[in-house]
């Protein structure tokens, strides 16, 4: 069992109860196609059960890795926690400020400068002007692109872009940090720096939920692993154990 169940007095930060998510796959894309398909008695749409009866509770300060192969439903789960998706069944509840780093740089605009993008993106992630002003220097320093901060982002190399985007995301004032493949950014020294930063946030009591295909890395980073298989929780416990079970499949 995960450590958290032992810790009496721990506060839940994320509650996922009986969550099901179904996607409708439309096979026709216009009225004409629908009409023809109906006449030929072909299927017009089918549903895909991405998540089916998922239950777990994550306590404040826990770091959790969502594990599973492609298409297992882990990214869908992360989007449900961040509020991008709504569950079809069951419910998702969160307590505290949530920042979803579902994809770094989603809110970046290529025609704006690095400076403008920091403000825009941090505001998108839920920060107000004062919070951004206070952290601006820290964000720039972490990204190591001081020289180019007033250059338009479209002239950045992909590495510089990712550094800046990650730096903004990691400096948002949050209680719950969600990340989907966020740790695959930049070169190795920068990755190491990011990992350290995430560990530091975790130690400061932030709740962490990450999805990554770098199994060894997430197992070391997180204490708890939740293995998702075909939309159901297959294992919930110590992270290295979860990775071992996943590899045995």
């Amino acid at each position: 069992m995960p450590k958290t169940s032992e810790a009496a007095g721990a506060r839940a930060a994320i509650v996922v109860r009986g969550v099901g998510k179904r996607f409708l796959l439309r096979h026709t894309h216009s009225l004409k196609e629908t009409f023809i398909a109906a006449i030929r008695r072909k299927t017009i749409a089918s549903t895909f059960e991405a998540l089916d009866g998922v239950d777990f509770t994550i306590n404040a300060g826990e770091s959790v890795a969502l594990l599973g192969f492609n298409g297992s439903g882990k990214s869908t789960l992360l989007k449900l926690i961040s509020g991008v998706y709504q569950p079809d069944r069951g419910e998702v509840l969160t307590r505290g400020r949530v920042a979803g780093l579902i994809e770094v740089g989603a809110g970046f605009h290529p025609d704006l400068s690095g400076r403008e993008n920091i403000y825009l993106n941090a505001a998108i992630l839920g920060m107000n002007q004062k919070e951004i002003d206070d952290r601006f220097d820290e964000i720039v320093a972490f990204s190591e692109i001081e020289k180019f901060i007033d250059t338009e982002v479209k002239h950045y190399s992909s590495g510089m872009f990712l550094r800046l985007a990650f730096s903004v995301a990691i400096h948002t004032e949050v209680d719950i940090l969600l990340g989907d493949e966020i740790l695959s950014v930049g070169d190795e020294p920068f990755q190491r720096k990011c990992l350290e930063k995430i560990r530091e946030l975790s130690q400061r009591g932030k709740t962490l939920v990450v999805v990554s295909h770098d199994l060894n890395m997430v197992a070391d980073l997180c204490e708890r692993g939740i293995l998702i298989r075909q939309g159901k929780v297959a294992f919930d416990g110590e992270s290295h154990e979860a990775v071992r079970i996943m590899r045995e499949q």
Binding site: S82, V98, D111
Partner: protein
């Protein structure tokens, strides 16, 4: 809010829903035990916002989004913001030649250029806000699919961008009016402001309505282009309302007046054009009441738009 209450218990919504309440007592929370409803204080359902109210709460983000659109709009073009004058001026010249000169409205309507231009900028504000607002959700698909934001931000910011674009045009009109002897009274200014309020409210409401449908059915944006094409002609922009009254039966005239844009255009005429004439023009009767009724219709449209938007919102991220 009945829209979000679908669970068996209620959740206390604090004013700033995304922050934890300070000084909340620590409770035991075993993983396996069923969660009692008393344990759920301070919890929120992610992705269920308060609609337009949330846009107001995130107004800093709103200003940044508007500023971004304004900055980026003409980036990379040599003429830059001059383009926002080129379109209305061209439009004005074409209509003035066709209707004012060839069809001789210039002779029958006093100060026809001012009449025409004050109507045109009204309808341009509406068209731009409505058309961009309808497309705003699809245009911001990358963001909507990745991060949760109050999605009403996008139609609202599109409308505000259109409003920013409208201001220099209104300024040009005001300068021209002053040159031909405009001396507005306080009531005239109020009429102009009410006209703007009607357009902005109406455009946000329609953008939310058609924008949310547009996520699943892109037919909506084509339909909106059609509405905009018609909008110029079904309000007294190019001609006078009395010309319509003389021909249409009474019931059709009621329909004509129910269009909030008719009121908005007439309010602009009252504010800008009417003071520059010698007062011989016949304005619609009871214009203040007419204007307020139009604002009421626009507000109802806003409520309807918000309602439909919220019904469809849960599918935005997966359908885009």
């Amino acid at each position: 809010m009945s829209l979000r209450a679908d669970g068996s218990f209620r959740i206390r919504m604090s004013l700033r829903v995304r922050r934890p309440p300070v000084g909340f007592p620590v409770e035991s929370f075993p993983v396996t035990a069923p969660v009692a409803s008393s344990d759920l204080r301070g919890f929120v359902r992610p992705g269920r916002g308060a609609g337009l109210v949330d846009v107001f709460r995130r107004r800093y983000l709103l200003t940044l989004l508007v500023r971004k659109e304004v900055q980026v709009r003409y980036r990379g073009s040599a003429l830059g913001w001059l383009w926002s004058y080129v379109k209305p001026v061209t439009q004005f010249v074409v209509f003035f030649l066709a209707l004012g000169v060839f069809l001789r409205l210039n002779g029958s309507i006093e100060n026809y250029p001012v009449y025409l231009f004050s109507g045109l900028i009204t309808i341009n504000l509406f068209s731009e806000a409505f058309s961009n607002g309808t497309r705003s959700l699809v245009d911001n698909a990358a963001l909507i699919k990745k991060i949760y934001l109050p999605r009403e931000l996008f139609p609202v910011s599109s409308t505000l961008v259109a409003f920013v674009n409208f201001l220099p045009q209104a300024l040009v009109l005001a300068v021209v009016c002053l040159l031909v002897g405009w001396h507005p009274s306080l009531l005239d200014i109020l009429a102009i402001l009410l006209g703007m309020a009607i357009i902005v409210t109406f455009a946000v409401g329609l953008s939310m309505l058609f924008g949310s449908v547009n996520v699943s059915f892109r037919d909506a944006q084509n339909f909106v282009e059609l509405i905009i094409l018609v909008a110029t002609w079904v309000s007294p922009v190019l001609y006078q309302w009395t010309m319509v009254r003389d021909i249409l039966p009474d019931w059709a005239m009621v329909l004509y007046h129910l269009n909030p844009m008719t009121a908005a255009v007439e309010l602009f005429h009252t504010g800008f054009w009417e003071p520059t004439t010698d007062g011989g023009a016949e304005m619609p009767p009871n214009l203040p009441a007419f204007g307020l009724a139009a604002f009421g219709i626009a507000a109802l449209t806003l409520i309807l738009g918000q309602f439909v938007f919220r019904r469809l919102e849960s599918r935005f991220a997966q359908d885009l």
